[in-house]
Symmetry: D2
Subunit: 134 residues, 4 copies
């Protein structure tokens, strides 16, 4: 599991005085940074090898400005050329939101998916979600 | 079906020179404005009666800066206190992204769901997705 | 003068139930799209020739969710390799915010400013702010 | 001086493969959080006492995805009902961007400025920018 902790930004709230649902898409992306680094250790953008296929976000409780949030990221499933992540947004020891994202190992030049190298599959496998306790 | 058409903004692109996946969460929210107005015709924020339960966005093809996009919004299902929307993002006559969002008729003071009034159920029902042709 | 009119998006509000000051930076950028097209008519990103040097935004009155906004854009000054734009954000026939932005004609490869071609200087000159009436 | 350090988020880049100029407005707002807490220690939103009058941002060098940024915040001037902040965005020991923001102590109900309480003026005064070395 990877974790990223940060303060809520004022502009991420909306007129309902809670965090906008739209902020979560960006926060979960921010939480995927350690996953990106498995594929591109120096974050060089020239031959970026990942594209997003889908994400689903469930909103369990409102998130507020006043407290830090932590994004937790697990690998849910590793396929041949794609993989799924399970993410959670926590605030004050409560899970507020859950996200599942499918990413594809992708060649932007040919616009085709590409098999994930074995050593990255292994690295991803070390962060598998343990569903036995869920 | 409701439609909203707008130009892509430069800041909505990312370093991959396409529209960031995170922009879609905001665009689909923008496409829901006519739905919000069924519940709150004057968009008064004081007793806002809706909260989001979840959204899922599928990315079918990359979206680029150079052309306008259109968000199309249908009602997929109307329940007692919640409803589902089906949305699509089109660019250059191609569907680029699909979203399904579940919204709840909600009382923020008591933090509880509330039955949707009959006249709003009827109004929503006039924008049902016709799945027979899908 | 160029104008762009659009609806305020829900996520652009903040917890003070007005539009976040941070949204204006993006709106004024959106209003500069016709200026970008003077330099890059097809908006091709490969040799993008502009960079921003500074912007100043004055907030005159609060902007709200309920009404469309219009961004008006004038050219304020054209120099050898840089130019200044004057922009205004209007809502309900009231000017709500003013922006002044300095942009530089720029070669990203060498990271140096470049003289603006004469035909673009002329095109910019056709949209000069008339300060005699201000 | 206050400092806030954080990772650049992927969606904050734009198609020029650097950080979008629009992100800075949000980052500098994030850097103002300790100033907000001088006025509202618990960040309660009910009687928020601040509004923004203007900001100016100068872009000195491009900011990239690969390295953390630090926002540094100083008080530049304290007036009767308003104050100015000087902010800088640093990346890899280089100042990349500077911002000056004017904020007003404000009563949203009457839409009027209000004198800043003496104890807050004193607190602000402890974070004055030392311009002697600039």
């Amino acid at each position: 599991m990877f974790t990223e902790t940060f303060a809520v930004r004022f502009y991420e709230t909306d007129a309902l005085q809670h965090v906008s649902n739209t902020a979560l898409a960006g926060w979960f992306e921010a939480g995927r940074q350690p996953i990106f680094k498995m594929f591109v250790p120096d974050m060089n953008l020239d031959n970026w090898p990942l594209i997003i296929a889908s994400y689903k976000i469930d909103f369990l409780a409102q998130i507020y400005l006043q407290h830090e949030v932590t994004i937790k990221t697990w690998v849910k499933r590793v396929g041949n050329s794609s993989f799924e992540l399970h993410q959670e947004c926590w605030q004050q020891e409560q899970v507020k939101s859950r996200g599942v994202t499918t990413m594809v190992h992708f060649d932007y030049a040919s616009e085709r998916s590409v098999a994930i190298p074995e050593h990255i599959k292994e690295a991803l496998g070390k962060h598998l979600l343990d569903t036995s306790s869920m």
